[in-house]
């Protein structure tokens, strides 16, 4: 397919998005990620029954926490797509990348850079 998508997206593979804990999402921000999205299987299509539905709830909770901490709720998102939807994957990556670029770098990254300087 040779689809193009932004190179600054770092992929962390998990067996199922049900493995993604709230703590993992927050830790990514602590380490300076500007945004995090979770890409799960299509709803109703989870190989482990409900993993992607649990992931969505955790993403929603992460949004609340990020809003309360001043990071902003829009920096985390949940998407659903199947392994056969390469075109949609590239589209999501471009869409999320654009969203984060519009929001600008995470304030955590700024703080880390300031401390290192």
């Amino acid at each position: 397919m040779r689809l193009q998508y932004p190179t600054d997206i770092h992929i962390i593979k998990v067996p199922c998005t049900g493995r993604v804990d709230l703590f993992h999402l927050l830790q990514a921000f602590e380490q300076g990620a500007d945004g995090v999205f979770v890409a799960g299987c299509l709803e109703g299509d989870c190989h482990y029954m409900h993993g992607n539905l649990y992931a969505r709830k955790r993403v929603e909770r992460a949004k609340e926490i990020l809003a309360a901490t001043g990071i902003g709720r829009d920096r985390v998102e949940m998407y659903n797509l199947s392994a056969g939807q390469g075109t949609r994957w590239a589209e999501i990556c471009r869409e999320f990348d654009e969203r984060i670029r519009n929001l600008g770098p995470s304030p955590i990254r700024f703080a880390h850079e300031k401390k290192a300087a």
Partner: protein, 232 residues
Amino acid sequence: MIKATPKPLEEIINYVKDFNKILVAGCDGCVTVCEAGGMKEAKVLGSALRLYFTQAGKDHEVVETTVTRQCDKEYLAELKDMVENADAVVSIACGCGIQYLTEMYNDKIVFPGVDTHFMGINADRGIFEERCAGCGQCVLASTGGICPIARCSKRMLNGPCGGSEAGKCEISKDTPCGWHLIYERLEKLGQVDRFTQPVDPKNWRTSRDGGPRVIIREDLRKAEPQHGSAHS
């Protein structure tokens, strides 16, 4: 077990925003089961507080830990160094654990990170229901194993009241009438004659009406040293 829910993050941030070194202390007991104050929740709260302090440009040191039970001083003693090193502690144990931690480390500011609600059961994933009000004098033997104190909104001993309709309590159509449940259960057991005689008033001094309660079990107390024994 005791059921609690995490306090809103905004409230906790408001408590600790002027401190630098914060200890988030969880408990491996009841609050771990209801996913309000175990290690996982301590890590999430710790992470959230670090994100807040970092984005606000404030110096901070947030550490998380848990102990087996915050309602036992032997386990709380394990926190000594961490508590001493902190400016403030956020305890996410139940109200008992938070208070005992405060008693043990009296010169330290301790904030609650959860709201403690009741003694209940795990009805389903994420659903906790109250079953016991800790009244100190169990009446389950005469009520078919269903507690009128915890499950009747009015804590009546001779129910149901006029607010019971189609098996539901007048406070909400989602709340089963405790006395309706008791009647159905006693009917199954062939014990509805219990309803022919009113039950005497309960001694509420064993409940909260008697003030803060203490249980002293002499059979469990430490033995006093015996004078004149072989080892003395």
